[in-house]
């Protein structure tokens, strides 16, 4: 029973992380249109908020958070990742979010220490 709990506490839980990411995206960007001047600040805020919430989980992980914000202009965008890690302990979570004016892709990678 103890091992089960400690395994949960030290595992990368995708649902938990994706809810953290969605909350920070809603809070920072919300319904705003794409603005060249503000996008820098948005990206920093999203990533900082995500990292802050993730570190509060107090799990033995190193985190990498990547955020891509793109204006909706009809252009295409592809994103891929590959990782050299331990499949049993490490994990990733990618959240695709959009509003009327922009697309946002946030990827969170958690690597166990």
């Amino acid at each position: 029973m103890d091992d089960d709990q400690s395994a949960e506490e030290t595992a990368f839980v995708v649902d938990e992380v994706s809810s953290i990411v969605k909350e920070s995206l809603e809070a920072v960007i919300g319904r705003n249109p794409y603005e060249q001047k503000r996008v820098n600040q948005w990206v920093s805020s999203v990533v900082e908020q995500c990292l802050g919430q993730l570190s509060k989980l107090s799990k033995p992980f190193k985190y990498i958070v990547t955020c891509i914000i793109m204006q909706k202009n009809g252009a295409g965008l592809q994103s891929a990742s590959s990782c050299f890690w331990d499949n049993t302990t490490d994990g990733s979570c990618t959240v695709r979010w959009e509003n009327k004016h922009l697309y946002c892709i946030v990827s969170v990678f958690g690597l166990a220490i």
Partner: protein
Amino acid sequence: MASQPLPLSQETLAQFNRSMAPEPGASGPPRRRLGSISTRRSSKDQSKDQPHHRPLSLRGKTVPSSESSFLSTKISNSHISMGRRFSFAGWHQGGRVSFSGLYLQQPIQEVYVENTYRMGPEPGCHFSASRTRQILQATLDSYLEGVCYSPDSCSQLCQILADLFLSKLKDVNPPRYKLVCQVVVGQSGKQGIRVASRSLMNPNTDNYTSAVFQNHSLFAVALVHGMYFE
């Protein structure tokens, strides 16, 4: 991971547990039979030079009969978490355990990896951001020269690039470093785009690097993080 079907039938597990259960005074070593399952996992991870703690839920525990069904669930759960790497062909063919509970073959010896007492990467074995950037840039330039963006092919191109970077970087990767490589490929339109990343890491041992390529029809961003595995 959790959506994979249980590899062992409940009946098989129940029989196995019945054979294991009635030994209340058993000492440590016979219980390690359960640990033979975890050994095959830990042998995979041996290269990391870490005593593998995660499958320890099965190792070295005395199992009172009342907990046997709980343990059976644990076995199947930890099998699920190992997914593809653990072959169950032996179970289904009866190659490892007969239904009387006796091992037909020698149980796999538990391998204990000794503590290396290493606190950080060796001097000269750090993740080299400059060398990685050179590799990324050279690969991007050579691979994407003259390529036109197309929605069908570029999704595969993106994944191929990510795998290619990883295979090239694994050759020059210092020991005990984990790599995360991300590639973004987009169409060169008149849209604005911002790619940013931040990480929670140890700046003494960990680092990242990025490379950008652009031509008339597409742009590509490659981002690689190297994290020391403590």
